[in-house]
Amino acid sequence: MGRSLAEAESPEKTPDAGASDARKAGFEVRLANFTGPFDLLLGLISKHKLDITEVALATVTDEFIKYIRRLQELGEDWALDEASEFLVIAATLLDLKAARLLPAGEVEDEEDIALLEARDLLFARLLQYKAFKQVAGLISETLEQEDRRYPRQVALEGHFAALLPELVWRHTPQQFAELAAKALKPKDAAPAEVGLDHLHAPPVSVKEQAEIIGYRLQRGAPLSFRALIADAETTLVVVARFLALLEMFRDRVVAFEQAGPLAELTVRWSGDVAEWDSSNLSEEYEETSEGTASD
């Protein structure tokens, strides 16, 4: 446990390192038995030596996203599953970051409750993951100790083997061949299918969603976030539009207005229409969505 946490921290040890150093850091992560987003999250949380609190989560969220970005800068090829799991966690963390902005006490909106539930679910999953990591350690120790004992498993002495009743044999060579064909057929021969089942939603491109938002806002009138996502069919589209807005805000083509906490968030176009193009968006989220689409 302790070991893997230390390993998960390794990417943080080389902030702003040169290209070769950064590549090395990424490479170390792969070698360090890092087994997925939960591992990394646990590592980040323990690094901040805090309980899993909202405050820690905000920091952790930033670092998690930084980590993803660094991996992408390195041009790491992600496995499809890994990438989609990261995307799910990243989206959850962004939700949680948003939930942190909620005032304590009066939580009435169903969406807010959903956010809090998402947070609790993430905590629960992380704690559970941690527990299994610990018992995996115990199992490993036991297996190692037990490996030091060898069972007596010798072949039956000849005179006992001779006592065994004659086998009943009903297979013709042809039937036997069919049996062999069945036994020799590769199992799980289609790894291409593996792991796609859990992708419930079709891939959504942040870039595409940015274009939709851009088109709507460039017509002039400011729109509420609620209005911008009114036609979103799935949560994934909502997440993608939210991410797109963050990107567009960073590029200073949109501005946000909000009267107070929990008040309607109004989005206004502020950029130079001629200059902006969705292809200017950083590749941060795009690579994974494209990967999803092309696979």
């Binding site: 087994t35 559970q128 993951y129 018992v135 995996a136 350690g137 199992i139 060898y150 039956l156 859990h198």
Partner: protein, 213 residues
């Protein structure tokens, strides 16, 4: 009839105890006390007494007489033997004593298992504590895809297919008796409790069952 069996055994050199030992010499997987009793034609209670006697004797705990040192060979027979009798995976079987693992390992190369990766261990842990369980659920708990690891664990004989989930139709996995053997335990109930590692999460099972993925 079982009593007649015992009387018959006692006429042989070494008696019922030696007869049981002779049978233990030819088994190649753990044998239950019922199977052993049937084979020896004695009651299960008799076999269990004998098994415990042998187990203690092999471990060198039989010395009770105060004048052991007076009798040269008695000292030798009270020392632990090179092997032990263990009750694992619901049955009894003879193993070499772990103190001699390095030496025995030089003779028994095959069958020695390579170590499991961290990913395989964690997946095995989830399956052991949540069985019967689908790959999707293990995957959700571990946060990564576990398909290839599940394949490896199946090949190693540590887990097996235990039918399909009646609702989703997904294949469910459980640990095998070989897993119990490798762990040196009688049943999965003997695995260390998970809850001490899961502080304040008593309700998580229900939560997972409700939001099952």
């Amino acid at each position: 009839m079982a009593e007649a069996g015992l009387a018959e055994l006692e006429t042989l050199p070494g008696g019922a105890r030696a007869a049981l030992e002779a049978v233990l010499m030819v088994i190649d997987e753990p044998a239950t006390s019922e199977e052993l009793a049937a084979g020896l034609n004695v009651t299960v209670a008799v076999v269990e007494d004998l098994l415990q006697d042998l187990q203690r004797e092999y471990s060198g705990y039989t010395v009770k007489a105060p004048d052991v040192d007076a009798v040269g060979f008695a000292v030798a027979s009270s020392a632990p033997r090179g092997f032990e009798l263990r009750n694992v995976a619901g049955g009894w079987r003879i193993y070499s004593r772990s103190d001699f693992a390095d030496i025995v390992g030089r003779f028994v190369l095959e069958g020695q298992t390579t170590r499991l990766t961290q990913a395989a261990l964690e997946t095995l842990a989830v399956i052991a504590y949540r069985q019967p369980v689908s790959r999707a659920r293990v995957s959700a708990i571990r946060g990564v895809n576990v398909d290839s690891v599940v394949r490896t664990l199946t090949q190693r004989g540590l887990i097996e297919d235990s039918g399909n989930d009646p609702e989703s139709g997904a294949v469910l996995y459980r640990t095998t008796s070989y897993f119990l053997e490798r762990m040196g335990i009688g049943s999965v109930a003997e695995l260390p409790q998970l809850s001490p590692h899961l502080p304040g999460l008593e309700g998580i099972d229900e939560y997972y069952d409700a939001s099952r993925m």
